[in-house]
Symmetry: C2
Subunit: 157 residues, 2 copies
């Protein structure tokens, strides 16, 4: 007998971030990724609108657990416009995180596929991301290959 995954698929629906997601644990989810102090409703709305004004050139996506009403996965991609590669475009994937309690459902892989597909539909010639060496194998399963190294300079507050 085949397992019925239709309910699982419904639960894994990827959609764009909505203003109401702030009260569905979106910020708390980002906190599983890195430093993300509390953000006021005004700050959230302002940043949300700034990003929305970029349209398809910068999308933030989420997966909401329909049972709990909580955001359990998120990821973003923004489109960089270049002169190289015949005025080409590059998709930059950022801030992918899956709730620790929602692992094992391939939400991360599905999110990466969704963001990659978006970048391709916009006309990008490649999509890139930076990750730790521990996460390299995951991205290889998503069809990515290691290419360069990321260098960083932090500014003092």
């Amino acid at each position: 007998m085949l397992a019925d995954h239709s309910n699982d698929d419904q639960k894994c629906k990827i959609r764009r971030l909505d203003l109401a997601d702030k009260n569905k644990g979106f910020i708390e989810l980002l906190r599983q990724l890195t430093v993300c102090d509390s953000v006021s409703d005004k700050e959230f709305e302002d940043r949300f609108k700034e990003l929305a004004s970029e349209g398809d050139d910068h999308i933030i996506c989420v997966v909401e657990d329909n049972d709990t009403g909580k955001i359990v996965a998120t990821g973003s991609v923004f489109i960089e416009k270049k002169f190289i590669r015949n005025c080409g475009k590059v998709g930059h994937i950022e801030d992918l995180v899956v709730d620790a309690n929602a692992r094992g459902k391939q939400l991360g892989k599905k999110m990466i596929e969704f963001l990659t597909k978006h970048a391709r539909s916009i006309g990008c010639y490649k999509v890139i991301l930076d990750c730790s060496t521990e996460n390299k194998a995951f991205y290889e399963k998503c069809g990515f290959k290691e290419k360069e190294i990321q260098m960083v300079k932090y500014f003092p507050w």
Copy 2:
């Protein structure tokens, strides 16, 4: 007797890309970095205007050799707006290239410093870039540290 570097400083003046730079070897310079086929005047102008509309959030800078009227260095930085880090911002440095005949004048280092300063002035908490392991030492001299690895997925044409 101290050397007079005032003329050198004049020659190393960093400014934003101008529409007229297409005829000053800007595309040919990018070709030293990667694939960059010929771009029509219309394509160049369209992309230039798209980028200009992003204002300080995406700047492309150049150094013009006043003697030859040629562009000898270029680099860009764009500002990514996030929710993490208190709705923080990150500067992404891209497409740095110094003409092979203009090496040894620290144009690359000056360009990185200029782009980094710009990102900081916009309120970024960090600036990042991807490079080959061969160029790591150069970026370390610019105050950067290795952090993660870059993963890439190219799309077939």
